[in-house]
């Protein structure tokens, strides 16, 4: 059997003909296997969904209990047979509940890694490399300019800034599923004990993380719009976590002299930070950086690497230089949530005027 007979890219997503299922489909399908809860991978409206307990719960939180016709639990490490194909969910280290999906049929093993990272994350199970024939990887940060520094050094920058500017509120933009909670956990590990304030959009998932037993300390929802100007002054020197879309909103501008921070792998590139008007870039990512993509590819010992999205050309080129076959799949539809594609708003360029 050729690998492309077992899994094949289609406009709806990766399709497995012998099992008649899709993995992370971007359109509603009869049967879907979902790697993790980010909305570009986990969409509502499928007939049936197979995913980890956490991912099913996150989808229900976001889309309501009726997000799919029927749901089936995937227990990490256990094999589920669909048709003649074996599927196994294995931790991907991306966000809580995230999994790689191991697809095995007649001795051929393909690993669909979904989104993943290798760096330590106190809020989810770590990535487990699975040796395979074909490794399907993302390449969100698939360029040698992306080397993430240790995350605790980045939260250290945040805490330094809070000490330096006790009169200003630190607004930290972080994706509401995964990143926000990881930032909370990291600053707690660094010994920060004051309450951490959150935007309403981050609340539901944060509550879920806490219910799953992840210690995040004193977390309080805040809406400056509901407070009098006098009361808002009390937020000087505090840390507020909100979705990236809110860092330049009126919502954040209401806090005292806000410092705009943003936790994302994109912050490695200065222009990206400036496009978003970020003053304090925090390079903290849910995705493997260039070195970790390479290390992972070597570790799983696959002869063939398929690349779903991100900087596929660069990673495919590197595969070629080390004797591996790298193929960009150009799957569309990923990157609407999380870090997979830029969502920054660049400042409008002004024409170079020749004379006034």
């Amino acid at each position: 059997m050729k690998p492309s007979d077992l899994l094949t890219p289609t406009p709806a997503g990766l399709y497995c003909p012998p099992a008649d299922i899709y993995i992370d489909p971007v359109r509603p399908v009869a049967r879907a296997l979902i790697s993790h809860g980010h909305s570009d991978h986990a969409r509502a409206g499928h007939g049936a969904v197979l995913a980890t307990r956490e991912t099913l719960a996150i989808m229900a939180l976001r889309y309501g209990e009726a997000f799919t016709g029927s749901q089936q639990l995937a227990v990490p490490g256990e094999t589920v047979r669909i048709g003649a194909v074996d599927f196994r969910f294995v931790p991907a280290g991306h966000v809580l509940g995230s999994a790689q999906i191991v697809v095995e049929h007649r001795g051929l093993r393909i690993v669909v890694s979904g989104d993943y990272k290798r760096e330590r994350d106190p809020t989810c199970a770590p990535f487990e490399p699975v040796p395979c024939d074909v490794f399907i990887t993302e390449a969100t940060f698939g360029l040698p300019v992306f080397r993430h520094p240790p995350a605790h050094a980045e939260t250290g920058k945040l805490l330094d800034s809070v000490r330096l500017f006790p009169e200003r509120t630190h607004i930290v933009g972080a994706y509401s599923l995964g990143k926000a909670q990881r930032v909370m956990a990291l600053i707690r590990e660094a010994g920060y004990e004051r309450p951490i304030y959150i935007h309403g959009a981050v609340e539901k998932i944060t509550e879920f993380y806490r219910a799953e037993g992840i210690p995040l300390g004193d977390i309080r929802k805040v809406d400056p719009g509901e407070r009098k100007a006098e009361e808002r002054k009390a937020f000087a020197g505090e840390i507020v976590i909100c979705p990236p879309s809110a860092i330049q909103d009126l919502w954040s501008r209401r806090f005292p002299d806000p410092v705009t921070a943003f936790a994302s792998g994109w912050m490695r590139v200065r222009a990206r930070a400036r496009q978003k008007g970020v003053e304090l870039p925090l390079i903290i990512s849910d995705h493997a950086d260039w070195d970790d993509l390479q290390a992972t590819i070597r570790e799983v010992q696959a002869g063939e690497i398929w690349i779903t999205h991100g900087e596929a050309e660069a990673l495919a080129h590197w595969c070629g230089t080390v004797g591996l076959k790298g193929t960009p799949l150009h799957l569309v539809g990923y990157g609407d949530e999380g870090e997979a594609e830029p969502d920054a708003k660049p400042a409008e360029a002004k024409p170079a005027e020749a004379s006034p």
Partner: protein, 544 residues
């Protein structure tokens, strides 16, 4: 070097002008000589290194990285220094961080053969921020949102004086500016060397709005043509020792005289002219396209001087000999300007004429048809009208209520998006530069699109994100940083493009070149087949 790198890094992320001023002033106050002087020189463009060039940096990184990965990375990041700083392979154990004065000395004094090894050793020793700052210093383009003027303003704040006073003594000074800092901090005398030909901040205008005409009296204003060249300041003065200094400044105070000896040599009287730099052939102003042949060059050949003779059309006289005229009213400066120009070579300097008008209707007619209203053969180079209060002093910046610009109405044409390229700087990684075309009959008799221009502004940030998404989803081909976008009769994206003027061009396949093209509207609704044809553009070409 680390402190300097830290300053540049902080400045790059600080959006507020006052925040930038505070950062620079704090750095200058707390950093010893000569380090701070070299930092100030870096921010004011005062450091030029003969042998350290971007090509050398490219060669160094090429030895250390895969060329394809470098090209993809550079395309993504959109900035050479940053790409190299990020990709430079770490060498652990090398941590002898160089000092800024040593770096400056090394860059100045090292020959072409030793320089690569020296720069590589610094890059090995620095962290990412340090590498980035060093590379910015070498390539000379800091791009951290700090103008020379802002840096001088911050320096002036050390002595609690206005930036203009620093400007007055600036040209007599050399990096690391120890005498300047001594003066600013009260431990030394004001530097003697007052510049006989200083830059003076330019006076700018506001775009006129519909309601303004009701408030303005035609009799209180003068009208002039707004010429389509580049605004410059030509300044000449005499030093106490009798030596003459002639300088040509851009509107932001950059010296560009080196590339225009034909103009500077002809400024034989001491004074400061505000005017438009143009190319003039046989007494007729040439298109901006032609002028571009002379722009952004450090040197100029005899052939270029003969082929593209430069000329200044004067608007104003800011100073005559030692006499500062800026406080005098427009009419008086104008009279002094006419007399001043009478003593110069009229082939190089002439007066921008006033447009006679008694009512707004008359001016409207003149603006619509400059050729019949006095501009004659130069009418194609008219961008619109300027209105200036007869009593207006010459004020720095863009003061309200004195000068107005009234541009000619833009022309509009519907074009089809053909190629998109990733932007640089603030827009790096977005597909923000668009090449668009109009229909023509192809060689086989069927309709085909021919590119007619390129634009990268005119749309909002939200629209850019939508177009970027459209480009990514409708890509036909990829050529490095460029994507070819679907463009058939039935499928594609139509832009309503606005532009100021049209020239014949042999360099463009379509035979036409647009001036100031911009995206006026995005016509998501319009089928590409209904976009304009080349004939529509050809009808707009000047008659000759």
């Amino acid at each position: 070097m680390n402190r300097f790198a830290w300053l540049l890094d902080r400045l790059a992320y600080e959006p507020r002008r006052n925040g930038k001023l505070a950062l620079i002033a704090d750095y200058l106050r707390t950093t010893p000589d000569p380090d701070r002087g070299y930092a100030l020189a870096a921010m004011t463009g005062g450091l030029v290194f003969q042998n350290a060039k971007p090509g050398l940096i490219r060669a160094l990184i090429a030895e250390r990285t895969d060329p394809v990965l470098f090209a993809l990375s550079y395309d993504y990041v959109g900035d050479l220094s940053e790409t190299v700083a990020l990709m430079w392979p770490a060498r652990h154990g090398v941590n002898d961080v160089p000092h800024l004065p040593d770096v400056v000395a090394g860059l100045r004094n090292s020959g072409k053969t030793e320089l690569p090894r020296l720069i590589a050793s610094w890059l090995d020793a620095l962290d990412e921020t340090g590498r980035w700052a060093l590379l910015k210093l070498i390539t000379g383009a800091l791009r951290i949102g700090v103008s020379a003027r802002l840096a001088k303003t911050a320096a002036a704040s050390l002595g609690g004086i206005p930036a203009d006073e620093v400007e007055q003594v600036w040209h007599g000074l050399e990096p690391p500016y120890t005498a300047l800092f001594a003066w600013l901090e009260g431990s030394g005398a004001r530097p003697e060397a007052t510049d006989p030909a200083p830059f003076r901040p330019v006076m700018l205008s506001h775009a006129i709005e519909e309601g303004d005409f009701d408030k303005l009296e035609a009799g209180e204003l003068a009208a002039e043509w707004k010429w389509d060249g580049i605004r410059v300041q030509a300044v000449a003065g005499t030093r106490p020792d009798g030596g003459r200094v002639v300088r040509l400044y851009s509107r932001t105070g950059e010296e560009i005289g080196g590339a225009f000896p034909d103009v500077t040599e002809a400024l034989t009287q001491d004074g400061a002219i505000d005017g438009e730099l143009l190319v003039m052939r046989d007494g007729v102003v040439q298109s901006f396209n032609t002028l571009q042949q002379r722009l952004n060059r450090k040197q100029v050949t005899a052939k270029m001087l003969a082929e593209f003779p430069a000329h200044i059309r004067a608007y104003d006289l800011m100073a005559e000999a030692d006499d500062d005229l800026r406080a005098h009213p427009y009419t008086e400066r104008r009279a002094r300007l006419e007399a001043f120009l009478g003593r110069l070579d009229s082939a190089r300097f002439d007066l921008s004429p006033r447009i006679p008008f008694a009512s707004w209707d008359e001016l409207t007619a003149a603006r619509a048809d400059p050729a019949s209203a006095g501009a004659g053969a130069d009418a194609e180079a008219v961008e619109g009208c300027m209105l200036k209060r007869l009593d207006s002093p010459y004020l720095p910046g863009r003061p309200k209520g004195y000068w107005y610009k009234w541009k000619r109405d833009a022309r509009l044409v519907d074009c089809v998006l053909m190629y998109a390229q990733r932007g640089h700087g603030k827009r790096s990684s977005f597909y923000s530069d668009y090449t668009f075309g109009v229909w023509r009959v192809g060689e086989e008799g069927t309709d085909e699109l021919v590119p007619v221009g390129k634009a990268y502004f005119g749309f909002t940030d939200e629209e850019l994100i939508e177009i970027d998404r459209y480009v990514r989803k409708n890509t036909l081909n990829r050529f490095g940083p460029v994507r070819e976008v679907t463009h058939t009769l039935s499928s594609g994206l139509v832009f309503e493009v606005a532009f100021e003027g049209l020239q014949r061009s042999t360099r463009h396949k379509s035979g036409v070149a647009m001036r100031f093209p911009r995206i006026n509207r995005i016509r998501w609704d319009k089928p590409p087949g209904e976009a304009d044809r080349i004939e529509t553009l050809e009808a707009l070409l000047p008659a000759n």
